[in-house]
């Protein structure tokens, strides 16, 4: 616990009600969505204005007290676990949409705005904010930027970084640093906004974010292609892109996931299928019709047993329900769900899935795999019980091996869930000592005392 004097200093900045100090409250901020051991912070502090935010950061730095920013704590890599104690800095009261500019297609938001709330507000004005992480009903835009969150529409529309035009953030001294601009083009100075994206709270604390908006597509069409061979499904992915069709969504469910989903939803999925692809194209009506027709043809050519196209909105929703049910269906099967994030070049998806299945057999583990096939971003999901120490040890070994394979296939450790605490030990495997040294030098220069979310990404 920090001294009473320090607690009082925080209270003087944010008010008594925004300094949470009881044992129960502190335990409530000791974890996030990652399957990791909790660490209890000394305090949780919630600024409600920019000014307070800056002062809190400054105070932490003055006292050498680590601070861990927290949006909604839905990250899957332990980014909000206060690994080295100190305070958890709650950003969820900084939840104002400052501006939505319909003419210039941008918005300015505070970091605590909930992603879905923002997307809905934008949609009400006839505009579109595409990044749609599965957690969007709860995750915050600050958390999205800090993790560079992706979503189902990543293939065509990109991920959060593609929408960040600027980030105003507090440096470790509590000084407000402005970066980026409200213009689409901007090459003034170093690209400090880019440094903030995916920085997981280690490089500054976001105060306001400028986000790009786009016009929404006029039409869309969803399809489900069923395969008796997962290689054929992967070939289809490559073939669609090779034919210069970029669906907004291209998702894959493997046989294990299909069966769990079917058990759970009774939606009538083909349980003997080795894979299904869920594909959606969007754009102008004529283009959508043409592309949808072409997609069906390509699927059949690549060996799909059947291709079902949604006839109306209700059928389209049904297809997406099956996709949305993937995680819940897997989560219900066993007490603990270890949702991983291995990502490989698209062409390597069959090899990656084969390897995952081998690893599952080797370690006697139940693994369902689904994910954003169009991006090569797979979510092998290991079903286990973390209380069974022996089994959980096998899970850890299996995860190690999954990443080794992903890297050997020229993939990456994380497509969208971040490095945080969970994966920092593997970082050197993907990058190089020089890369890490460069990152550490940068961190040391920006945050010499190691105040900003220490222990994350590059460890230390």
């Amino acid at each position: 616990m920090p001294s009473d004097a320090l607690t009082k200093e925080f209270q003087a900045i944010v008010g008594k009600e925004n300094v949470l100090e009881s044992e129960a409250d502190r335990h409530s901020y000791s974890y996030d969505s990652a399957v990791l051991d909790p660490v209890v912070p000394e305090l949780a502090v919630r600024p409600t204005t920019s000014e307070e935010l800056g002062k809190v950061v400054r105070l932490c730095n003055q006292h050498g007290l680590p601070l861990t920013p927290r949006g909604s704590g839905t990250n899957l890599s332990g980014g909000t676990i206060p690994a080295q104690g100190g305070i958890v800095l709650l950003t969820n009261a900084l939840n104002k949409i400052v501006e939505i500019n319909e003419e210039d297609l941008y918005a300015v938001v505070q970091p605590g705005v909930v992603t879905a709330t923002f997307a809905n507000e934008v949609a009400k004005r006839g505009l579109f904010y595409p990044p749609d992480p599965g957690s969007q009903a709860v995750s915050t835009l600050g958390g999205n930027v800090a993790e560079n969150a992706g979503g189902l529409r990543g293939l065509k529309y990109g991920v959060t970084k593609d929408y960040v035009m600027g980030v105003d953030f507090f440096d470790v001294n509590g000084e407000l640093v402005k970066s980026g601009s409200r213009t689409v083009k901007c090459v003034t100075g170093l690209n400090l906004s880019a440094l903030q994206v995916a920085s997981e709270g280690t490089m500054g604390v976001f105060n306001e974010i400028i986000l790009k908006l786009v016009p929404p597509p006029a039409a869309n069409k969803a399809m489900m292609a069923i395969f008796d061979d997962i290689d054929k499904a992967s070939e289809t992915v490559a073939s669609i892109i090779a034919h210069h069709i970029v669906p907004c969504t291209l998702e894959l469910l493997d046989n294990a996931t299909i069966n769990y989903v079917e058990d759970f939803t009774k939606a009538g999925l083909p349980t003997s299928a080795q894979a299904i692809l869920l594909i959606e194209v969007d754009g102008h009506a004529a283009q959508v019709a043409e592309e949808a027709e072409k997609v069906v043809e390509l699927c059949k050519k690549a060996g799909a047993v059947e291709v079902k196209a949604a006839k109306d909105e209700a059928e389209r929703n049904k297809l997406w329900e099956a996709r949305r049910a993937a995680l819940p269906a897997l989560a219900r099967a066993k007490p603990t769900t270890v949702l991983e994030d291995a990502t490989v070049p698209r062409s390597q998806i069959p090899a990656m899935i084969r390897a995952i299945n081998e690893i599952g057999k080797k370690y006697r583990l139940d693994i369902g795999t689904f994910g954003h096939a169009g991006d090569g971003n797979l979510h092998p999901t290991i079903l286990c019980d973390k209380r069974d120490k022996e089994e959980f040890h096998r899970v850890e070994e299996a995860v190690d091996e999954i990443f080794d394979v992903a890297l050997s296939l020229k993939g990456t450790l994380s497509g969208e869930h971040g490095i945080g605490l969970a994966k920092s030990k593997w970082l050197e495997k993907e990058t190089s000592p020089a890369t890490i040294a460069y990152a550490k030098a940068l961190k040391a220069a920006i945050d010499p005392k190691g105040i900003l979310n220490p222990g994350k990404i590059i460890g230390g």
């Binding site: 044992e23 409250d25 409530s28 969505s33 909790p38 839905t74 709860v138 995680l327 007490p335 019980d385």
Partner: protein
């Protein structure tokens, strides 16, 4: 604090259920309390983490955990939205029973539950007495809503606009009924619930009128007690068991097709909670509890699903009525279409949907007493939605929600009546 280890062992019973929570946080999107307070300990994920930490002896502050656990409406919104299918209501109620068993019940609750609620005759007598004299202490605020406020400052009542005790409780108007099925060939057992009995007897009368109209026999035994949810949500298992037994005893003698209630909370309690806590009951009692649970249903659900009440075409321009979904009906039992159908069967009414109709009204029984400020804020959002619908009347299916709606509309000075769906339907049968 006595022996924390003992508490930990008791809580480990829940471990199998708690471990299913994957800490995804999706419950946060729908929790009405979190929306107001923004504290992680106020949402399911935080509460489960705290119970887990108590179970694993990582935290020593049992009292602190109890307070966090109590700051919950038990509305079930989180459970309905949980991808992992965690049995949240079970965990919360059993958690409260265990933690309270360990810490002991507050003297006030002990006096109310053990000394009164489980002794219906005494409870009824005391409240009848109160009903006669309450005029001395309360002033009428709104005739349309029938709300009052307290003339004297009382910490328990605060500035609430509340419904007063009825001069004559429903039990005095009708009790000991046992009529034969008429043209429908159906017979129901009727469980009015405490609030209808003591504050809204006209809702009970409406139910009787509707049953008579449709030729449904009614078994309304003497000696009914509260369904037990106030005791359970305060963690008083002993009183809960007593109440269940009293009710089983009262209803055992009847033969009926369905056990109907006009109280969403009662229906959900009988249907879902009674069986969950009946595991260790003696075989005969357990069988009776399960049979009652099986037959329990909301009155509108009975009217639509069993009697066949249908929406009728009616000329537009009638009284505008909107419907608030009580959590315990829509989230726990999935009943939402039937009350709307019943309202649609009232020819002088135009049904209008309000936005967020299934969002909690913020009452939550004792939550309203302990966390009135949060409850009021949640109620205000409901009130804003009701007003925006431009309805003349807001109907619902739970007396507890009726109390909350009355309070919030009355405090805002809105001229919108609060009615039970079955009341409106009964009226339309004239």
């Amino acid at each position: 604090m006595a022996d924390l280890h003992k508490l930990a062992i008791m809580l480990q019973e829940l471990d199998d259920q708690m471990v299913a929570c994957m800490k995804c946080g999706m419950c946060q999107a729908v929790c009405p309390v979190f929306a107001e307070t923004m504290n992680e300990s106020d949402v399911t994920r935080g509460k489960i983490a705290l119970l887990e930490n108590l179970a694993h002896e990582m935290i020593a502050d049992a009292q602190g955990v109890k307070e966090k656990l109590n700051k919950c409406l038990l509305c079930g919104s989180c459970a309905a939205n949980c991808p992992s299918g965690v049995q949240i209501m079970d965990i919360f109620l059993k958690g409260r029973v265990i933690v309270n068993g360990y810490l002991g019940l507050s003297p006030v609750k002990k006096a109310i539950f053990r000394g009164m609620l489980t002794k219906p005759t005494l409870f009824n007598a005391l409240l009848s007495f109160g009903g006669k004299f309450q005029g001395l202490f309360t002033s009428k605020v709104d005739d349309l809503l029938g709300s009052s406020c307290s003339k004297i400052m009382s910490p328990l009542i605060g500035d609430r606009h509340f419904l007063t005790l009825a001069e004559k409780p429903f039990r005095k108007i009708a009790s000991g009924l046992d009529t034969a099925p008429g043209k429908s060939g159906l017979k129901v057992a009727f469980f009015p619930g405490c609030v209808v009995d003591k504050m809204l007897p006209h809702v009970g009368e409406a139910v009787l009128k509707v049953m008579k109209h449709h030729g449904v026999g009614v078994f309304l035994p003497k000696g009914q007690a509260c369904c037990g949810i106030p005791t359970l949500s305060s963690g008083d298992r002993e009183s809960f068991d007593k109440l269940v037994k009293l009710n089983v005893k009262a209803f055992r003698k009847g033969k009926y097709d369905a056990l109907i209630t006009p109280c969403a909370t009662c229906t959900a309690t009988i249907k879902e909670m009674w069986p969950k806590f009946a595991e260790n009951y003696p075989a005969e009692l357990k069988a009776d509890v399960l049979a009652m649970a099986e037959k329990a249903m909301d009155v509108s659900q009975f009217l639509v699903d069993k009697v066949g009440v249908k929406t009728v075409d009616s000329p537009t321009g009638g009284t505008r009525v909107t419907y608030h979904d009580p959590c315990h009906l829509v989230k726990s039992l999935g009943v939402s279409a039937q009350p709307r159908t019943v309202l649609g069967a009232c020819k002088d009414y135009d049904f209008v949907e309000m936005s967020e109709a299934n969002r909690c009204c913020g009452n939550g029984g004792t939550f309203n007493l302990h966390h009135y400020e949060v409850s009021k804020k949640i109620g205000q959002r409901k009130r804003d939605n009701v007003v925006a619908s431009k309805a003349d009347v807001v109907a619902t299916s739970c007396p507890a929600c009726m109390m909350q709606l009355t309070d919030t509309l009355s405090r805002n000075g809105d001229r919108i009546a609060v009615r039970h769906a079955v009341e409106i339907y009964a009226e339309s049968l004239d």
